[in-house]
């Protein structure tokens, strides 16, 4: 459809525009610096095999981070992203394998389920005026619990082979999931900068009281963000079961903390109203490079989270200090 292509075009243009903004420059240079550092530390880093691995991992975390970013922009937070990814992808697996539903339909149903999870989060936070941190912590427990109820802790294997390409396929030497991530990045960048919803999102996160007085429907805006977050998490989950060929209950568990850290590294303020989709992706890339390098260096797995956690704290501290120096006006 011509209008769709036009939107994508505009989104791409907007993406390029944000890529040259000052805020991105900081994150981008950090990414380049860490990449150079890693390639010095390990000769295996800059191989096409390794880069492919990094890109594929980045795609999954990136998609989840983009969703988290939308919620953070409204001044809330979504701790249930990993659990939703696991729960909905496992449901998709169950439908496809045990109930013999067509893969396409299973995926669609899983996406609807994911959206409903987001709707539940959104309603609890807005209508009952509950703290998002607490609510999504609770729903995280519910969704991951339901995950275990359905799977009883065992993977659902034999996912139909014709969807494997979603997770394992390559197009022009680049893993397919990355294309999905890029498409989502373009759409969200376009949404953030060119649509009324995007503008309302930033306004709500920036000053919710003023947003209400001006007549914005802040509840609907927040619910929308939660739905986007859960939907994207579900997409990441489905891509993962396609990659693994099985629906493992552990899917998504490792995605929560990086999604928040990446967004913050990328310039998203936890208080809301500030942030860029592209920044979050670059933040995810930084985390991805670090985690990859740790593995390449043969660091004991027990130390991995210590190192990646330290780097996250360092990155956020550097960003904070930069703000302080700049804002010491």
């Amino acid at each position: 459809m011509p209008s769709n292509i036009n939107m994508q075009g505009k989104g791409l243009k907007e993406l390029v525009r944000t890529a040259f903004s000052k805020k991105i420059a900081g994150v981008l240079s950090a990414l380049i610096a860490i990449t150079i550092f890693s390639s010095i530390l390990s000769p295996h880093f800059l191989t096409s095999y390794n880069i492919t691995i990094i890109i594929r991992e980045l795609a999954f975390i990136g998609i989840v981070t983009l969703g988290q970013t939308m919620v953070l922009l409204t001044g809330e937070i979504d701790l249930s992203v990993g659990a939703v990814a696991g729960f909905c992808s496992v449901m998709a697996g169950k439908l496809m394998v045990e109930l013999n539903v067509s893969p396409l339909l299973s995926i669609i149903l899983a996406l609807i389920l994911g959206s409903l999870c987001g709707l539940v989060n959104g309603l609890l936070v807005t209508k009952l005026k509950l703290n998002a941190l607490v609510v999504t912590l609770g729903t995280m427990g519910v969704y991951s619990g339901l995950n275990l109820v359905i799977t009883k802790g065992k993977s659902i294997t034999d996912i139909p082979a014709h969807i494997y390409f979603l997770g394992q396929g390559m197009l022009l030497e680049i893993p397919f999931p990355l294309y999905i991530m890029l498409a989502i990045l373009i759409v969200l960048t376009f949404t953030a900068y060119n649509t009324t919803y995007g503008r309302h999102l930033y306004a709500t996160g920036s000053n919710i009281e003023a947003a209400e007085i001006v007549g914005l429907r802040v509840d609907a805006i927040k619910i929308g963000a939660f739905i986007i977050s859960s939907l994207l998490a579900t997409i990441a989950g489905i891509l993962m079961i396609a990659r693994l060929g099985s629906a493992q209950p552990a899917i998504g568990q490792a995605w929560l903390l990086p999604s928040i850290a990446a967004a913050v590294i990328g310039g998203t303020a936890l208080t809301g109203g500030e942030g860029m989709p592209l920044g979050s992706i670059l933040g995810a890339a930084i985390i991805g490079v670090i985690e990859n390098t740790i593995i390449l260096l043969g660091v004991s797995p027990y130390w991995q989270t210590v190192v990646s956690g330290t780097v996250v704290v360092a990155a956020v501290s550097i960003d904070s200090m930069r703000r302080m120096i700049a804002g010491k006006k």
Binding site: K10, Y197, N207, A210, I213, V214, G215
Partner: protein, 499 residues
């Protein structure tokens, strides 16, 4: 100290992206002097003060305390007490705690414990000096704007510093509190303190200060003894080329009795007020006078659906409306412009452009996609129409001066073409010339058929601008005046509860 100058700034320069806030400004405060710092919004007053108190770093220039040059302003922080214009209190702590942090009276033997009894006693003493009978144990977010401002002043006074800086200390307080503040300042002056006083209320100057320094667009215009300069000259120098209007000519539309009633409120009761009934006609400007804390803001917020009502009816264009939120109010053409613009009005980390275009975004969009061209041209027309000074519309709102922020909010609210506007303290903290502009625009708007309610604590301005004035006292309507028929004294008497 030979020439009696206690604090001096020489050739101060300060720049922000796109604007020179201070251009080689000199300022000298003498001992035992009350020195006023005057200028339009954006002139640089707050910037200069922020440099003197260490909030901003100057780009160049020197600062002297008692003739000694100061390298780091942080060294003299404890010699200067500052009362900021925007509230800087801890809302969840008590009045006493707010006054004494971080120098709370400590327990004599165990120095890590706070001596609350002593703290509350000392707080009571200071509060009674200011003629405020508030319980120092009250939590600050439960008291109204006027009292909060007085708590800030109490805090500064309790620090007993040789230099006291007050930035628009009376913008939220009433006449009585202003008088008691002035008395205290005179006492402090006689005790050897030196005071810098920033205000837009020129009437206050002649009552209080010894000297006045005028800034304009970041430049020093001059410093005078207050006896050597009159009000008109001051205004002229603040404004520069533009002609200053101290007395805006506002023609009143007399025949609005025949215009239809657009807003009717019957027996409205809610938090802090009861049984409010009034009507508002097309082209009418209705004033809500009263002391700060009388309940006017609560009435407005209840009409808008921001606060819940306990009883009463609201009719818009003779149709009964159930308004439960500003969204619904907007649908009925009713809009509210809040008093505290920083808290409820602006989106600080969005750009000026984004702030202004927000309510009308749909009109500039097709299928929810914003037309950047339309947005830009709309915002540019607003900026010129409302005379908002900014180097680029992409500037973040937080970098604009207070006055420009206020103008932007007013512009934004008017741009949605409401039928009824409730303005809460529209010209608080705004300089004389901008005030005249704003009242002029309100009159123009009223002529086009809008009904406007102005909540204001400045009686003289209400008398000039409003066609009718309702005086609220302790949550009830005390008296209603036709605009011409009241004097400031009568308004004040009604406001304080006398017949």
């Amino acid at each position: 100290m030979d020439n009696g100058i206690v604090l001096e700034a020489r050739k101060i320069v300060k720049q922000f992206p796109g604007v020179v806030a201070l251009n080689q400004v000199d300022f000298a405060l003498k001992k035992n002097q009350i020195h006023a710092l005057i200028g339009e919004n954006g002139a640089g007053k707050s910037t200069l003060i922020k440099i003197l108190t260490g909030v901003y770093k100057k780009d160049s220039g020197s600062i002297f305390l008692n003739a000694e040059e100061i390298a780091q302003v942080s060294q003299i922080k404890n010699r200067i007490a500052f009362v900021p214009q925007e509230f800087n209190l801890f809302p969840h702590l008590t009045i006493a705690e707010n006054i004494f942090i971080p120098i709370e009276p400590k327990n004599r033997t165990r120095r890590y414990l706070v001596d609350y009894r002593k703290m509350n006693e000392e707080a009571s003493k200071i509060l009674s000096l200011l003629q405020m009978n508030l319980n120092p144990k009250m939590v600050v977010n439960k008291i109204d704007a006027a009292n909060r401002q007085m708590v800030q002043i109490a805090r500064a006074i309790s620090q007993n510093s040789e230099i006291l800086i007050l930035d628009e200390p009376t913008s939220s307080v009433s006449y009585q509190e202003t008088e008691s503040l002035f008395n205290i300042l005179r006492v402090l002056k006689s005790q050897g303190k030196s005071i810098i006083y920033i205000t837009h209320k020129l009437e206050e100057l002649y009552n209080l200060v010894d000297a006045v320094t005028i800034l304009r667009d970041g430049n020093l215009i001059g410093t005078w003894n207050i006896k050597d300069i009159d009000r008109n000259e001051i205004v002229r120098m603040m404004a520069g080329i533009r002609l200053a209007k101290i007395e805006p000519e506002l023609e009143k539309i007399k025949d609005f009795q025949r215009k239809k009633i657009i807003l009717q409120v019957e027996n409205l009761s809610g938090l802090g007020f009861q049984n409010i009934s009034f009507h508002l006609r097309e082209t009418e400007i209705l004033g809500f006078a009263g002391l700060v804390g009388a309940g006017r803001t609560e009435i407005a917020k209840t009409i808008l659906g921001i606060l819940p009502k306990s009883s009463g009816k609201i009719f818009i264009n003779e149709k009964k409306k159930k308004i439960q939120s500003p969204v619904g109010a907007l649908k009925s053409g009713l809009i509210y412009i809040p008093e505290d613009r920083k808290q409820s009005g602006i989106f600080s980390n969005l750009s000026l452009k984004e702030n202004i275009s927000l309510p009308l975004l749909e009109k500039m969009s097709a299928l929810h996609i914003i037309s950047k061209k339309k947005e830009k041209s709309f915002v540019n027309s607003i900026i010129s129409r409302f005379n908002i000074k900014v180097s680029s519309i992409e500037q973040k709102m937080k970098f604009l001066s207070g006055g420009n922020q206020q103008k932007a909010i007013i512009a934004r609210s008017i741009s949605v073409e409401p039928k009824i506007i409730i303005f809460d303290e529209p010209t608080k903290g705004i300089d004389v010339n901008s005030k005249a502009e704003i009242y002029g625009q309100l009159k123009e708007l009223a002529k086009t058929g809008l009904g406007i309610i102005i909540i204001s604590s400045e009686m003289e301005e209400l008398l000039k601008a409003a066609d009718r004035i309702i005086v609220i006292h302790k949550g009830e309507i005390k008296r209603v005046f036709e605009g011409d028929s009241a004097s400031p004294e009568e308004l004040l008497r009604a406001a304080i509860g006398l017949a």
